[in-house]
Symmetry: D2
Subunit: 286 residues, 4 copies
């Protein structure tokens, strides 16, 4: 056979878990947890020998059992506990990755809640036995500035028809993930500070979505000394001014068509000066 | 030909519209608007003669032009204006229906906003020339009680294995729509009162999701005298207690699996005593 | 209390079921089944007394048990069996409705299959004890004519800017449901004939999507004598010719932008001459 | 400022494009095209100076103009032309990546088509000026073996409750992408051969989804000499045998619950022996 097995991993994805802490007032945490493992897994690929393959069903059970035994907050802590467990308890497993999404709920009463949607808190922990990498983030955080954004001074090739603008709507759905230098810390406080920094920086005047991206990344790095680097993916959700002239109407920046597709997409990394890179923190090898 | 044309309608669906009101502080309204018209439309079906078919593109243009000219708030008012316009300005059109969804945003600054997700405000206006019916509502409002909900005393047939429970998680995604008796009013105040009543009633102890549905509907009717009836559609988003006994762990109502499918679905109408029915308010004839 | 309970129903939605018939060659049927029941359900709403409320969990179990005992094909037959069972075996239940979607798979081998996506076969059975209504249909059937479609001769109001066209792309995602006069028959043959008639009629030259709708409906009624009426919902998936003139290029009907939103929406019923109406066939009362 | 800009890119995503070739019989190609560019883009991030930022709107225009001028098939060729254009015509741009999805349609007539859904053909071209990397693939290809799949011989830890099985349903939604060693070739023939090899290998008896993954990857490498490596991502779409014993029924592998979440996820790379790695082929640097 002229083929060889390259990088590979397996696990259980999207374990949906709601954890209550009961008391006079209940606490509610609503999670989606995914586990992926890598290591000495060649035999199952080559011969179907599963001696090294802990079932993904067992991984799911572990998530639920650990949720009961240790609680699930802060989510980074829960992820660390799970990621370390798999590497430490399974000899063939050299690398583990646990990704978590925490859906936000607002309290309505002692044991009543409403799901809110201002973004989802995320975390990802990768463990290689020696070291654990912790990434936190936010996704689906939809933001809009209704003025203060320009886009001008760009080059024009033969396919360019876009007009320069000094005042446009800037809207995006933030997907951000930042890597911590440490594997312990005041996770919730760091998350809150990072998220606040993102919102704050987004509001600044902008000459391009790239400038906004860099400002947002820099703000997180300034706000949270434990952050080594941050990756942002910012779709540019275009809002087009509707031409109302055919109907005898001016449209001085008031009525917009919110387009679905296509959209711009701006992606970038902002790094603390001198911070090392850490590819393992971002994904298992492919 | 042995076939005849039955009820029919046509229109433009999902016109995405963002309306700004500029000033020191900007106001932002984010809408999805759909228009449907019915009337003397047989010829286009039978022969392709479009003499009575105002293009759906023109309907879209009307939505944008009216947004500029008259503003879009309250959404019921915007819907009324559009629905009446189509019936009054187009001789062949006997019925119009305008459906609107308003996505909520939270203010971050004078002209900065974050999209929140605690449900979407909806409205639907149907106009038959003589009368306009106004329905308001909320969709995608996800609520959860972590205790205080039971389900017991049900009949058991040969396919019943479910255990009775005195304490379960009750979770749903509210889709509610209530019909007003009037075609003018303090729409925003009514909406706020109805929504608050829904949240408040949801929190009450419950012996079935049907009981909760009826309580929610009744609360809206009590809170807003202008409401004639309300329709609710409540999926029962099951949360199953995870069996941790195989791992030597009790699970006293703490760790749950949030299931996707299947789900229960409870639908019902609650009516003010003596209120007439009004099928046209709810949909164009099919 | 000044409120009264109106129409209501409850049931289990989206029971996902794969049924194999084993043999040298396996048969595979992949279904999504929803059950809804109505009847004497006031007490659970008013007082939380569930004596008449067969759990939706039991309904789910019934679906699976019947699938084992009786098989699931034709789907109309499976729906009839379930719908009749609930009305006949549960005294408080006066009305039942079973909706089914059958996802298509293509055979790759004796027991290997690939999911195909040229529409989903649907069925809905409503039973009131005395009578059972059977509706069959197809959804998500995406069709496109690249020429032979016009849209002209329409009225122009002050908001009309659309140009007339003698040659456009006509594309839609067919949602069609047709009601049979009978409650037994060669369901699969009827379905195949109705579906073929839809495809065939769609291909005819068209002066409006309404004309195409009526042709499709009429074709089904002509092709299948057992069909009393058919409802079609046809989104007009706009394909806009891209203006390439700024780049010195003509675009003679070759390069199109496929838009997502907004879209036209054309809905209509076509009825066999003399056919009675049957509202119950289409939905439980609201 | 203590922060530095790391890897970044920007572009226009999800340009929806339908391309007709007119004649007695029309040809139809339905594409979703995304462009991403990287290079000397620091200034727009740091200062908002856009002198190097060709608008994403111009990128979209280029896609449409090239579609008219050169046609869009084979999609790999279209991707190569676009990717090279951006690197060669824009001095600041060092890297370009063009991703394409081609939705399949079945011919119904000379100019009539039905959208089918047996997977989507994909391609991705990355160009660094000197070299162009071509990756082809398929996504959303849903396959199922109803027998011939086992999962046994796995290790059992304290969280393992899963029973071994010698006969289960194996179902997945294939996402596969294979890298060619060359930047020209009979793209369509290679694609057809690779896709056929995937389907064929999937049907083999399986002791784990990993074994199936490796067989599928190896089959592509054997079938298409131009393929250097292939990456597969295979969700394990669990089908659970329903326990019908409470209803007095056996269930000898006939009635299954098709679960949504959680699901297993198996990812792996299969490489031709001796093939170099080529990270750029798979994504722009992050």
């Amino acid at each position: 056979m002229s083929t060889v097995l390259g990088a590979n991993n397996y696990g259980k994805a999207e374990v949906r878990l709601v954890r209550l802490v009961r008391g006079d007032t209940h606490e509610l945490v609503d999670l989606n947890v995914s586990v992926a493992l890598a290591g000495d897994l060649a035999q199952t690929h080559l011969t179907g020998d599963n001696a090294n393959v802990l079932p993904t069903d067992s991984q799911k059970n572990t998530v639920y059992a650990f949720a009961r035994r240790y609680g699930v907050t802060p989510v980074e802590e829960f992820g660390l506990r799970l990621a370390r467990h798999f590497v430490q308890s399974l000899a063939p497993i050299a690398l583990s990755r646990v990704e978590l999404s925490a859906y936000p709920w607002r309290r309505l009463g002692p044991h009543s809640f409403a799901r809110t949607g201002e973004g989802v808190r995320t975390a990802a922990v990768t463990c290689d036995g020696a070291k654990a990498y912790v990434v936190a983030g936010v996704s689906d955080l939809v933001l809009l500035n209704s003025t203060g954004s320009a886009f001008a001074g760009f080059p024009r090739d033969e396919y360019t028809t876009l007009a320069e603008t000094g005042d446009r709507i800037l809207a995006t759905a933030v997907e951000a993930a930042w890597r911590y230098r440490d594997d312990e810390g005041p996770w919730d406080a760091w998350y809150d500070a990072a998220r606040a920094a993102l919102l704050d920086a987004f509001r600044r005047p902008s000459d391009s979505l790239q400038q906004t991206l860099y400002a947002m990344g820099g703000a997180v790095i300034e706000a949270v000394p434990a952050v080594a680097e941050i990756r942002l993916s910012l779709p540019n959700r275009h809002h087009f001014l509707v031409d109302l002239a055919p109907f005898g109407l001016e449209n001085p920046g008031e009525v917009f068509f919110a387009a679905d597709r296509p959209y711009g997409l701006i992606e970038g990394t902002v790094r603390r000066d001198g911070a090392e890179v850490a590819p393992l923190a971002w994904s298992l090898p492919r």
